[in-house]
């Protein structure tokens, strides 16, 4: 079984995001970029399925600028067999990403596509679902547990009401939630080994994807700031403060 893993490069989750004063975007110059944490979880799950003997090959797919190489190398160091880098200088939106991944799916014919449930930059939470729709295959989103047997996957999903388990016929798309697994750390020998693993570069334009970038972002603003309130020194003062607000 082949697994295709969506692997997006984003601003590292530890970075303190700053909106540019002119509102044209957030500051990304000189800022650390890494694989989307949900996509690392996706890769880790694919690697575990390979280690269990269920999958034979794990292929990373990323869509980004030509110099977006470091996170790919890290993903290969974690253990992916090879990577496909669709090269485009432009940031793309989920529908375009889904259409692009579909082209790769048609080429690679994976049994499973695993992607993070959302990218921590745009927080859209759409690409996996859109890919599943275009591929006319099942989607199992917000997965916290995945079991693959024969041609089906049993996926437990984190939903508002609790934990929902569904069964899907493969091939299918799974999107990962935070508690699915803890990605492994990369060790130096793995980084050295990864240098010889293939990264195939494909120019975005050559795929013939119809752009789904329909939304125009017209401005960025920092969030409304809550200001610091008052400190109370004991429970009695806290209760008074709550009663004054009609909350107790």
């Amino acid at each position: 079984m082949k697994i295709l893993v969506g692997y997006k490069r984003v601003v590292d989750f530890n970075v303190r995001i700053q909106v540019k004063p002119d509102g044209s975007g957030v500051v990304t110059d000189g800022v650390k970029l890494s694989a989307n944490p949900f996509d690392d979880i996706a890769l880790e799950e694919a690697l575990r399925l390979r280690e269990k003997g269920i999958a034979s090959e794990v292929v990373l797919a990323t869509i980004g600028p030509a110099d977006a190489q470091a996170h790919i190398r890290n993903g290969l160091a974690m253990g992916a067999n090879r990577a496909i880098h669709v090269v485009t200088a432009d940031a793309i939106q989920p529908l375009t990403a889904a259409r692009t991944l579909l082209k790769l799916v048609e080429r690679e014919q994976p049994d499973l596509v695993i992607v993070g449930k959302q990218a921590i930059d745009d927080d859209c939470n759409q690409t996996g679902q859109m890919l599943a729709a275009l591929w006319d295959r099942p989607q199992a989103t917000f997965a916290s547990k995945v079991e693959v047997e024969g041609g089906t996957a049993r996926v437990t999903r984190e939903v508002d009401a609790g934990l929902e388990t569904i069964e899907v016929d493969l091939p299918a798309v799974i999107t990962t939630d935070l508690r699915l697994n803890e990605p492994r750390f990369i060790k130096l020998p793995d980084i050295m080994k990864a240098k010889s693993k293939p990264i195939e570069s494909i120019e975005f334009a050559s795929l013939g994807v119809e752009s789904g970038d329909h939304l125009e972002t017209t401005s960025h603003a920092p969030p409304a700031r809550r200001s610091r309130g008052v400190m109370v020194k004991d429970v009695a003062e806290l209760v008074s403060a709550l009663k004054a607000k009609g909350l107790a």
Binding site: V11, I17, V19, V26, Q93, L95, A98, I120, D121, D122, D123, C124, N125, Q126, Q129, M130, A132, A133, R137, P138, Q139, T141, F142, R157, E158, V159, D160, A161, G162, L163, E164, T165, I166, V168, L178, R179, G212, D213, H214, L215, E216, T217, T218, H220, A221, P223, A224, R226, R228, G229, V230, V232, V235, E237, V239, A241, L242, K245, L247, A248
Partner: protein, 315 residues
């Protein structure tokens, strides 16, 4: 003028208040018709409830055995067919795990983009939404010649009240072939008499500092005294102290209660994004430098194991 369709969220025969919040958002967009679509095995009761929401002009039902559970692959083709047949300009669903699962699939079937987590309306095709865990708010414009598909950030909208009148309820005939490749197995849900976390007016939340599932009893006791729902930080859920549906934050529930009491929660950005629209935030933490105090309206530094039972007794 706009004609808006809202996909109703429901469970076990009861309409979720997230639907009424979508109606409030629809009113902000401004429309000649605001209609609610109920997909269910037996939609009658749910539809009757939706029909009383102030602002709803019609409720459409699709009753099929396959609709017994909200499976995205089963719902999406029906929603897409309804949008096309009805000539709607907008399609909305709540930004809950239900709406997040189903709506992007519908958007892709319709060949359009989706605006996720609408937090404000600037025009019929212009919206604001949070990105980077709410550290930036963007204004986006969508094409006026395409159906606008959007999920509504429920914490940004109050639920439209039950109005005086009742909208008509009609069965909708849908031509859609439904897949068999996705099957519901089970839902493990903590049934509780406590208020629902997503919509509760008061919430008491615990963090990893509680140290164990047993210690969370003091949180439950305070919540019971206040008639509040119980929430938790991601760290507390990861540590296994409470089940996942209690998680509040960027990848959990985004809530806006009148009162939010954060106990032993440091206040990581991803948690704060889940509570920034709360009315009053109270923080109890032994670390005076915890980031939570930068956003709390009322802060109390001290040992939660002493202060929380004291607070429960004093209320």
């Amino acid at each position: 003028m706009s004609k808006i369709l809202i996909v109703a969220e429901h469970l076990d025969g009861a309409l979720n208040s997230s639907t009424a919040r979508c109606v409030s958002c629809a009113k902000e967009i401004g429309a000649e018709a605001i209609e609610v679509l109920v997909l269910a095995a037996d939609p009658a009761g749910i539809a009757a409830e939706a029909a009383t929401i102030d602002g709803v002009t019609r409720v459409l039902t699709v009753a099929r055995a396959e609709n017994a559970h909200a499976l995205a692959a089963v719902y999406a083709p029906q929603v897409a067919a309804a949008v096309k047949a009805g000539g709607y300009s907008h399609l909305l669903a709540p930004s809950t795990t239900f709406g997040k699962d189903v709506l992007p699939r519908v958007a892709a079937l319709l060949g359009v983009a989706q605006v996720s987590d609408i937090s404000a309306v600037e025009g019929p095709h212009a919206f604001r939404r949070p990105i980077y865990a709410g550290n930036a708010i963007i204004s986006v414009k969508a094409p006026a010649d395409q159906v606008l598909v959007g999920t509504v950030r429920t914490a940004s909208y109050a639920a439209a009240a039950a109005g005086g009148s009742t909208a008509p309820v009609e069965a909708l005939a849908i031509e859609a072939s439904l897949p068999a490749h996705t099957r519901f197995v089970e839902l493990a849900s903590g049934k509780s008499d406590r208020p629902d976390l997503q919509s509760a007016a008061r919430v008491v939340s615990g963090g990893r500092a509680l140290g164990s599932a047993e210690n969370f009893d003091i949180i439950y006791a305070l919540a019971d005294k206040l008639g509040a729902a119980v929430g938790a930080s991601r760290a507390a859920v990861d540590a296994g102290y409470v089940p996942n549906e209690l998680q509040v934050g960027q990848t959990g529930k985004i809530i806006a209660p009148d009162l939010y009491i954060a106990v032993g929660i440091s206040g990581a950005i991803q948690h704060l994004t889940g509570i920034k629209d709360a009315g009053t935030i109270v923080a109890i933490n032994k670390d005076a430098d915890a980031p939570i105090f930068e956003v709390a309206d009322i802060g109390l530094v001290g040992d939660l194991f002493k202060l929380v039972p004291e607070l429960t007794a004093a209320l």
